[in-house]
Subunit: 343 residues, 2 copies
DNA sequence: TATAGCGGCTAAAACGTTTCATCCATTCTC
DNA sequence: GAGAATGGATGAAACGTTTTAGCCGCTATA
């Protein structure tokens, strides 16, 4: 009933308190007979270690946190699963926190995590400006690894996919298909990925030097619902201004756009082509299979976790690293139809 | 740099240690001038509470855990978001643990959570047999709420959706459409939802008393990939035995089946009708919009969290409750085509 | 004027571990 | 056979809070 503690176990086994601790942490330093007596006491009393006390003594906990922009986004759930593998294999525990693309919630989570003296934090930050909260964690000696963000900051590791390149790939593809009026859909712009993918697309357009134009439509979030709303707005444009292709900052938006367009009777890709980003599992299963820029999602998580553990273990000798993966364009039906250039 | 503690704050502010604690926990009991001095000291020293010590003293933590079968399943992510709302509003923190439908991992997580003396646990257990791990938690006084599981166990609350009814709804619908050879796809059978939905389907079939038959195909997990594999197997059957409708234990399976069937040139619903379960956001965006049994996902999470907090707060006076929601069939194109009964 | 009450603060105990210096009894070394 | 080394166990300190009993000086009450 009442939770037994290490002292009761010691009394029950007729040994000292320190010996019980040794059985728990350095079993080989205690004689087999004694060890067995202690283990028996533990099971009969139903003793379970008290982690708070352990942590208090150790000065830090054995949990690692990952703070994501959206738990419901399949991109992040895959990243989480990748990180989970590595963290759990090391005997630690991964806790998932959801900032919901809201910097106030992000801050609150970081404060709580700091109070908990977590072993380290994997995070995809909401903004791309200075990050006082993160700097505070780092000052306190808590390792931080940026996920899906490749800032060259010197005081932390990062794992990212080249979003500018991803934007280029998508844009080049749409230009190759002969599109002249292209929309980029994404938001909020405070999210660095949204900005970078746009930058890549804009750069590709400029380098081509053609007559094609890129219109930007800003959304409030990166969700299916936001995609539907944005599509409605695009449809409200006069036909001559309406884009013939939409490049979306992620697949959820793209799926939303696809849903809304087909619901309104437009054909994809004949009337409007769509390219998404992330290549989540559902992209391939969509009404019209979705072209998308693929990222190595679980590897992102795994690598981030490895960097974190490395830093946490090696302490001062650690050198921060910035790993960048290359994205890859997967063309499927939603954009697979060349368009005759008019005018 | 080195983390300041409450003692240094006290020294810096020229007060006793207990006063600092009062400023933190009962600000109104300390004189405004003193309070301000302490607050100043806190900010200049960058003091952050040490949660381990606080927990050690309190005897339990302020975090609540939710253990789900699959973090990447949109059904669970929605449940998590619902629970999150309630838990965070109460000032606690929700940590998400992933059992991955694996009872060994589930056990490990529960052990860790017990060591952490969490405030409570929301869980969708892997098996449906006796649950020694959970009983142990409950013995220790940690409230447990079963999510999406309606066992009438007396020692815990539960929140569930009537899965037997859900199975019935799906089956009745397919029978109404005139299907004679129907497959139920789901697994592993140790998952109670899988078993209950099947039971409902079987019961509906029996009550109808017709000549229709229900074939069960067991999958290894409830994922898109498992659905694709299962579809392959169905396709390997001789045409005369091949089912004309598939009822899947969840939408991920259903999407997998849909992908594989269309990839192999079969038409849905003309050749094979499909009904899924959960009505996740992607069901509506699928290649062929998916009929599905809808559950109030975030409400499930919210209610579970509310029951948990109620139990955690009210202690002994708490009466366990079992809330059951009703599912609802949403018919979309994947099953919306009556089939002429042959023979 | 004595006393009770009160606001504001302090000092010390307690929470349950882990670790470190010690100690004891044995065995080994020469 | 004396001393050193070794294996095995012990006791106490320390980690940073929260809480409780109590103290002090002041005001209100009789």
């Amino acid at each position: 009933m009442a939770t037994a503690n290490i002292k009761e176990v010691a009394r029950h086994a007729g040994v000292s308190l320190g010996t019980v601790s040794n059985v728990l942490n350095r079993p080989d330093t205690v004689a087999p007979a004694t060890r067995q007596r202690v283990l028996d006491a533990i099971t009969t009393l139903g003793y379970v270690r008290n982690d708070s006390a352990r942590q208090l003594r150790a000065g830090h906990s054995r949990t690692v946190a990952i703070v994501v922009l959206d738990v419901a986004n399949p991109f992040f759930t895959d990243v989480v699963r990748g990180a989970e593998q590595v963290i759990e294999a090391s005997g630690a525990m991964l806790v998932v926190c959801n900032s919901g693309e809201d910097s106030a919630r992000e801050r609150r989570h970081l404060e709580l995590l700091e109070e908990q003296r977590v072993r380290g934090v994997l995070i995809t930050p909401v903004g791309h400006g200075p990050q006082p909260n993160l700097d505070k964690l780092i000052d306190r000696g808590i390792p931080v690894v940026l996920v899906d963000r490749g800032t060259g900051r010197a005081n932390r590791c990062s794992v990212a996919v080249d979003d500018v390149l991803g934007g280029r790939l998508a844009m080049d593809h749409l230009l190759d298909q002969g599109h002249q009026r292209i929309a980029y859909l994404g938001g909020p712009v405070s999210i660095a990925q949204v900005a970078d993918r746009h930058a890549g697309a804009a750069a590709a357009l400029k380098e081509r030097g053609g007559t094609a134009e890129l219109r930007v439509a800003v959304t409030g979030s990166l969700t299916v619902a936001a995609g539907r709303r944005a599509a409605e707005e695009l449809l409200a444009l006069p036909a001559r201004q309406r884009p013939t292709a939409v490049f979306c900052a992620n697949d959820l938006l793209a799926l939303g756009v696809l849903q809304e367009l087909t619901a309104r009777g437009l054909r994809v890709p004949a009337d409007v082509a769509i390219v998404g980003y992330d290549d989540i599992e559902f992209a391939d299963a969509a009404a019209v299979p979705l072209s998308s820029v693929r990222q190595p999602r679980d590897q992102l998580g795994r690598t981030a976790a490895e960097l974190l553990l490395e830093e946490a273990d090696s302490g001062d000798t650690h050198r921060h690293r910035h790993v960048v993966f290359q994205p890859e364009l997967v063309v499927r039906r939603s954009s697979d139809q060349p368009r005759r250039t008019r005018r």
